[in-house]
């Protein structure tokens, strides 16, 4: 049985393991003991605080496989309340300029990259890492979307816009051609070094050393241009899944590796549009009768739980759960839960 719950400090060893296993390494999931510990503490604190507007909170969740005798943490994912709460969240915004000449009777479109912190105003899905054994299984969809179900329960804690940065293309030596042509010229650092600096420390150095003017794409190297708005191949499936969920390609790319940012108005996401409140009804016999899988989440911050169950409804739209499921979710008959039926996809959907 797979379950998503808030991460606690006791999950630190598992998080370190997951951070080290990410390909490519994630800026926002540094394999750095103190940094991760601080994040876990911050998350726990945020969950217990009565928050009325999004701020610096970053909520970290783990996916636990409770099937083995000892439950095992096999994935993690975070949700940042506000991408630019403490300091601006910088991206490159792609824009098209029109250069027209009456004299020559021509009109040209010229692409530029402008330093932007527009996405500072969005909430950010980030730090997603899943044990290799579970990739491509429904566990992935569960872990990814559980954050959205949490946000749906506590909309006051988040922005109306959601964003997610996809890692950009790297070559065989894990070098970013975008970084080599662009970032390195300004930061005088290796890609991995700057990624670590940005992950661990403040990012204020970005505004200090970047020129305030847009860059003309045609002037960048072929290598850099070819990866603008790219997605690292290890993340193609994730991007497809996010697009299914309602995310769209944004005008923005990652400042360091040129990777694409996806965005969506929160209320346009599948989870929000198709999520419904149901009272729980315990029915061990009928709970497996759902035709489609559904994500279901309780309505508790500190003891938030999310899992995938068959979408079994009574005639009056109560959600039918087995007593084991109800126990895992920490809910009793008559309590309300949020459930989202997932459209079936080509992948096999196990009964959790």
């Amino acid at each position: 049985m797979l379950l998503v719950r808030p991460a606690g400090i006791e999950d630190l060893p598992a998080l370190m393991r997951l951070a080290e296993a990410s390909v490519p390494r994630l800026t926002n999931l540094p394999a750095h003991q103190e940094r991760l510990a601080a994040r876990l503490e911050q998350s726990t604190r945020a969950l217990s605080a009565p928050i009325e507007a999004p701020g610096e909170e970053c909520y970290t969740f783990v996916l636990e496989d409770r099937t083995p005798s000892t439950p095992e943490v096999v994935g993690t994912a975070s949700l940042r309340a506000c991408a630019g709460a403490r300091e601006a969240y910088y991206t490159w915004r792609r824009e098209m300029l029109i250069h027209a000449s009456q004299q020559l009777d021509v009109r040209r479109e010229v692409s530029i990259l402008s330093l932007s912190h527009e996405l500072s105003e969005a909430s950010l899905l980030c730090a997603f890492s899943l044990d290799a054994r579970y990739r491509g299984t429904p566990a992935e969809r569960l872990l990814r979307r559980s954050r959205l179900l949490f946000a749906a329960q506590y909309p006051e804690r988040f922005r109306t816009m959601m964003g997610v940065a996809m890692p950009g293309w790297l070559d065989d030596q894990l070098r970013s051609p975008f970084w080599e042509s662009v970032g390195r010229r300004f930061f005088s650092r290796d890609f991995h070094e700057i990624n670590e600096l940005a992950g661990i420390h403040s990012k204020s150095f970005i505004a200090e050393v970047m020129p305030p003017f847009p860059l003309y794409e045609p002037l960048l190297s072929d290598g850099a241009r070819s990866v603008i708005g790219s997605i690292h191949e290890a993340h193609h499936a994730a991007a497809a899944d996010l697009r299914d969920e309602g995310f769209r390609d944004s005008r923005h790319i990652d400042l360091f590796d040129g990777g694409l940012l996806l965005e969506a108005p929160f209320d346009q996401l599948h989870c929000v549009r198709h999520g419904h409140w149901h009272p729980v009804r315990i029915d061990d016999a009928q709970s497996t009768a759902g035709q489609m899988p559904a994500l279901v989440a309780n309505q508790q911050a500190e003891t938030f739980r999310c899992m995938m169950v068959p979408h079994a409804l009574s005639a009056t739209r109560q959600l039918l759960l087995s007593s084991a499921q109800a126990e895992q979710l920490g809910v009793e008959a008559g309590q309300a839960v949020l459930a989202v039926a997932l459209a079936g996809d080509d992948r096999e959907v196990p009964v959790c």
Binding site: H99, S101, L104, V106, I112, S181, S188, H201, F205, Y216
Partner: protein, 352 residues
């Protein structure tokens, strides 16, 4: 050899020069109507009376030719013209005058332990209203060593400006042809201009020569460009001259004109510039009295550059093969005839 203002009768010679110089000589396109208009314009400038208030503010072009008056009288006029040069009294008033200025921006980040400056190209019209020396060309058959025809062409302009000082502004510049590769291509253009102008270098250059420059303002990149993002081949052109332009640059440097960070927008060749009153030939030339004497030794090697000071429209300049004696210059009657001066007239001279 005699320097004098161009006349309408020199049109054939001028066109021959335009054909000879080909592209690469921006200010003298092979276009008879244009050249004729150019002569009309320059005649108007020479004919403007001293003291005319227009002189202090209006654009004006002074175009000179070098005539070989040693040739037999039967030689057609077009074959007597050995070269030309010009002074633009105020650039950028009729049509915009563009340069890139290489500026420096400090980048400092305590966190990255970084402090340095980054070179940036800014589109600029800072030289609007300045004077320009330009259009210097000496035909190959007059290039023999020791004749010092090139020096005469280049240097006589300073004497002209010193004598008719009120016709010129405080600053003067010269634009030098930039670096080209073995195939005759400008690496700077290939990396930069080509991406913005849907025409080839020669075409762009020719339009500029014709004064049809509005396409530049329409299509130029309007944001500053960090040179760090340009390929090495383009960066290596910034402020560098074409091999064939080195002697001309050396002559201007010797006069005190310096590269102050302005380059050509197409080929990145340097603009050299100075305050007119600081130019060596202006500072060191002086007025003295002409004394015509039959007993003067006949003209020998070029020693002193002499020019007339009475009337702008009948300006003449040539080498005199004799040193200045106290406050007078002895002229052989042949030299006096060449310059069109009478005994007692004031000359402006520059010893070497």
């Amino acid at each position: 050899m005699l320097m004098r203002p161009i006349e309408f009768e020199d049109l054939d010679a001028l066109q021959a020069i335009a054909v000879e110089t080909g592209v690469g000589f921006t200010s003298l396109p092979d276009n008879r109507e244009f050249l004729e208009a150019r002569i009309a314009e320059t005649r108007e400038a020479f004919d403007t009376r001293d003291g005319d208030p227009e002189l202090a503010t209006a654009p004006a072009n002074y175009f000179f030719v070098l005539e070989d008056d040693d040739l037999p009288t039967g030689v057609p006029r077009a074959e007597r013209i050995a070269g030309c040069c010009a002074i633009e009294a105020r650039v950028g008033l009729d049509v915009p005058f563009y340069n890139y200025r290489v500026g420096r921006l400090a980048q400092a980040s305590r966190q990255l332990d970084l402090h340095r400056t980054v070179d940036t190209l800014f589109l600029s019209s800072d030289h609007t209203g300045d004077a320009e020396v330009c259009s210097l060309y000496l035909r190959p058959q007059w290039r023999e060593k020791g004749a010092r025809n090139a020096t005469l062409l280049s240097r006589m302009r300073w004497l002209f400006m010193a004598t008719w000082r009120e016709r010129f502004p405080d600053r003067v510049l010269a634009e030098m042809r930039g670096r080209f590769d073995d195939q005759g291509r400008s690496p700077f253009w290939e990396s930069l201009g080509r991406h913005f102008f849907p025409i080839d270098f020669r075409h762009a250059d020719r339009l500029t020569g014709l004064g049809q420059k509005s396409f530049i303002g329409e299509l130029m990149p309007r944001y500053p460009i960090c040179t760090a993002l340009l390929p090495d081949s383009a960066r290596a052109c910034i402020g560098q001259v074409h091999d064939q332009t080195r002697p001309a640059l050396a002559m201007l440097n010797a006069q005190g004109l310096r590269f102050e960070g302005y380059i050509d927008i197409f080929d990145a060749g340097p603009t050299v510039e100075a305050y007119l009153d600081d130019v060596r030939a202006v500072r060191h030339s002086r007025e003295l009295e002409a004394v015509i004497s039959d007993r003067a030794e006949s003209p020998g090697a070029p020693r002193v550059l002499a020019s007339t000071t009475q009337q702008c429209a009948t300006f003449r300049a040539c080498w005199v093969g004799r040193e200045v004696e106290e406050d007078r210059l002895i002229l052989h009657p042949d030299e006096a005839r060449r310059l069109g001066v009478e005994s007692g007239e004031r000359l402006r001279v520059l010893a070497d």
